[in-house]
Symmetry: C2
């Protein structure tokens, strides 16, 4: 199996047309593309109207959707009965514009909580968006831009998989998100819409999505807050040749990881991108928890912003100890390596002892990207997990004071 | 039972002598006072040497201690065998200086992780501290100041309880802490040493301490990080008359809450003090979780710093939904009232709908202290919990970049 990165985002998948518009902070996006759909949604106990609505749609439409309509600027969350009615109305508008079944429209929203949608605006914006639907890359880009909120760049990725048959399988996705990012448990985060022409059944798609989300969107942390609106949708048009579930999983994992890393890079106020790799833990679950505890810690994040290897390592130790793991920790077995760009690396903690925290460590911490490699020293090397995050800068506060 | 606030901190308790010294960021504190001791310690899986050491001491000494020695500037955490040896050496030094049993010395440390103690410095500082031991308020103050790290003011409180008998019962405590504050589960947080002359058995003291810590130190959040060094010690000299366990609990709760609130007020970079009261939840545990989720959220905290009632309320809703509660949430039943100084208050969310977020709400958010009163609307009014915290300002980042 060969994987090639291609252009076009969701429109790299045949049969998908898309367009979006953004006016001030109010955007509207529309995607047309029929197929089997599976989704993962926020586990926040307060769910936005579009989340409740779309979950029901996927059940009603027997797992098939024909279109996704999404708006930014208003989350349609904590909006009561009227909110549900408005989400339904968004589906109706998309349905009549595109001539797809009303039961087969998914709805998503992102933005401020507690406000009702401006349905007049959405109706007007939809008129413009429908006219410009495109099956080219520009369509995907317009959608990715329309759903941005505090994002500083739009996020899309597509790959083409050579399965050995004549036809290739394409997976393309877009995502948005930069704050209120803390994926938790077996759930999705932020908005991400992924299309593929792979021909796979609903159950295989569901398994693949869960696996990919657990290894990608669920492993990024910006601020530890959990949104009421998170949603990941995977739609398979089934137009291409066959692909094994294992191969598809590998491809989907890659796309989701790339999108997740884009979100971590675009973390509100981020000046540095951090990958935390944890290995040698008692179990993969423990490795995941430790990795997430490290990228979540505000103290670790601010020490990274301050480019201080000594503070960073001390706080990593405290974060490791506070992680919600089931296995034991042996402080005397923990080793930590910092890795920078161009192969630069230094062992900063060697089996429970701080070693070199000056020189190379300092120079790595000045770089824009770094890998923190933690060896827990009690399990097998292969028992590993990776999480992604960013530093905590003054700008995180500036962006969020409103 | 009448409670009166008195001066003198831990030295308000008869038989307690104290002194401390601070040179740069290196401080040393010594407290002399014999009695029954109970403690609560961090649940961080990586425990600093003094935490492991003092836990064992309390068992070995059969719950009696004669002295506490504590240093700031170095946490003696993640320091292996040598760290344990140094903690023991601190106990020995205090023991020979004061002539108390070596088995009856408690040791605490706070500061940077991963560095060994400078034992020469500690020995020298101890010499000076022993000479100045005082049973007056200045002794308590010197201890409270010596253990400060990023604290901007020292923290002490004492009360005198009129039990109706001739003798009064005194409870006096000191505390330090302003960052890496996220008390969790049934554990203690930061450093706090509390003395009382109340005559109560070890079990009653233990129950009282757990109850008080659960309602105070475990209900404050500064940044959600958990230290490897947290410790709360309660020592009863038993020199005063009898007091019922219920009355003692009430008094101890008051002292611990006051100390906890001082820590929240002194949160790193804090410009505002926030009390979150949650009532009408399905259970007290749920009320606690919701209150803590709100004061923990970086997005809520930065919206408070930005004095934005609309953002604050939206993010409170997301935080409520993401809290780890076992009961249900009915968004349509939630009401939120903001309360400011001088009795100013405004209902901002009324049974699931945002109401007045301008005028009074804005003016309350400009104040230095505010109460966020959340009625979950599904349980009894009396089912309530209170948490304390602060806003997230640029200065939190500035302080923590090192």
């Amino acid at each position: 199996m060969k994987i090639e990165v291609v252009k076009g985002g969701i429109c790299a998948v045949k049969g998908v047309r898309a367009n979006g518009i953004k006016e001030g902070n109010k955007g509207l996006a529309l995607i047309e593309g029929k197929g089997i759909a599976v989704g993962m949604f926020t586990i926040n106990k307060i769910k936005a109207a579009p989340v409740s609505f779309t979950r029901k749609q996927l059940e009603k439409g027997e797992g098939r959707i024909g279109a996704i309509i999404a708006n930014s600027g208003c989350a349609n969350s904590f909006t009561g009965e009227k909110g549900i009615w408005n989400a339904e109305r968004m589906a109706e508008l998309a349905s009549s514009s595109l001539g797809v079944d009303k039961e087969e429209v998914a709805v998503a929203s992102t933005g401020s909580i507690g406000k009702q949608l401006d349905m007049g605006l959405i109706e007007r914006q939809l008129g413009e968006v429908v006219n410009g639907l495109s099956s080219e890359g520009e369509g995907s880009k317009a959608v990715a831009k329309a759903i941005m909120t505090t994002d500083t760049f739009h996020k899309e990725r597509a790959i083409s998989i050579d399965t050995g048959d004549e036809e290739r399988v394409v997976i393309g996705g877009i995502a948005k998100g930069s704050g209120m990012i803390f994926p938790h448990l077996a759930t999705a985060t932020m908005l991400s819409f992924i299309y593929t022409d792979a021909s796979l059944g609903e159950e295989a798609l569901r398994r693949s999505l869960k696996d990919a989300v657990d290894n990608s969107f669920n492993m990024i942390v910006v601020d530890g807050d959990m949104s009421t609106n998170d949603m990941v949708l995977l739609v398979s048009t089934g137009r291409s040749g066959k692909i094994s579930e294992a191969d598809f999983k590998e491809g989907l994992n890659l796309v989701c990881k790339e999108l997740a890393k884009l979100i971590a890079r675009d973390g509100e106020g981020a000046t540095k991108f951090v990958e935390v790799k944890v290995r040698g833990a008692a179990s993969v679950e423990d490795a995941r928890e430790v990795a997430k505890a490290i990228v979540r810690s505000p103290l670790v994040k601010s020490a990274i912003f301050g480019e201080r290897p000594d503070l960073t390592c001390g706080r990593i130790i405290a974060a490791i100890g506070s992680s919600a793991i089931s296995g034991d920790i042996e402080p005397g077995e923990i080793s930590i390596t910092l890795k920078g760009e161009n192969g630069k690396e230094v062992l900063v903690v060697k089996k429970g002892e701080f070693v070199d925290l000056s020189g190379v460590a300092r120079s790595i911490m000045k770089e824009k990207e770094m890998i923190i490699d933690v060896d827990m020293g009690i399990g097998k090397e292969e028992v590993e997990a990776t999480a992604w995050g960013c530093d905590l800068s003054y700008d995180y506060v500036r962006i969020n004071v409103g």
